[in-house]
């Protein structure tokens, strides 16, 4: 199996956010909101860190 770096980020963020959403909140509605929040933070944080590394290099 081969996977791109960004694909790995998306899969990791998706599965981790599902578990975080279910385990860290009590109500189904807040579970979905927190899971989505975690997903955005994971993916957004990775993209931001990637740009920071690019800027440091250049």
């Amino acid at each position: 199996m081969t996977i791109s770096h960004f694909g790995a980020v998306l899969l990791f963020a998706l599965f981790t956010s599902v578990v975080f959403g279910i385990t860290q909140r009590s109500e189904p509605r807040t579970m979905i909101r927190f899971g989505a929040f975690c997903f955005v933070l994971f993916v957004g944080g990775t993209i931001a860190a990637s740009w920071i590394m690019w800027l440091i290099k250049h």
Binding site: M1, V18, T23
Partner: protein, 137 residues
């Protein structure tokens, strides 16, 4: 004078062995702790997520850690892998997972499996909290 401070956090009508069963079942089989308490959707989602992460880790040729290598980081990664419960046992029995990482993306696979184990521990503890009534269902 009595207070309610030390009242047992147990849900009325539930078996006293349920919290321990939920914890152990949830550790051995991802999502089983929630399924035992008839939380079908939550249990199913947890099972799919954790099993998928572990399977993707194996497919990426990630490394399965073994105990007693002497390296501190290996011990920590082994603890994470052990969180997968029966998935880890099956992987060791069938000799799945690489001994050493040989390609760059395989390191992602290794991390996927370690994180799957840690997430499974969180999920098992959550099932225990549901069973004791500490977490509202």
């Amino acid at each position: 004078m009595t207070t309610n401070v030390q009242a047992p956090a147990q849900v009325a009508g539930k078996s006293s062995s349920m919290p321990a069963m939920a914890l152990i079942a949830g550790w051995l089989i991802p999502g089983a702790g929630h399924l035992l308490q008839r939380k079908w959707i939550r249990g199913g989602l947890l099972m799919v997520s954790i099993v998928a992460m572990f399977t993707i880790g194996l497919a990426l040729k990630g490394k399965i850690y073994s105990p007693n290598t002497g390296d501190l980081l290996d011990i920590l990664n082994f603890a994470g892998d052990l969180g997968n419960g029966l998935l880890y046992v099956l992987a060791r029995i069938f000799d799945l997972g690489q001994v050493t990482v040989q390609v760059a993306t395989a390191d992602y696979g290794t991390k996927f499996m370690v994180v799957a184990g840690l997430l499974n521990i969180i999920s098992a503890v959550d099932a225990h909290s549901l069973a004791t009534g500490r977490k509202r269902s």
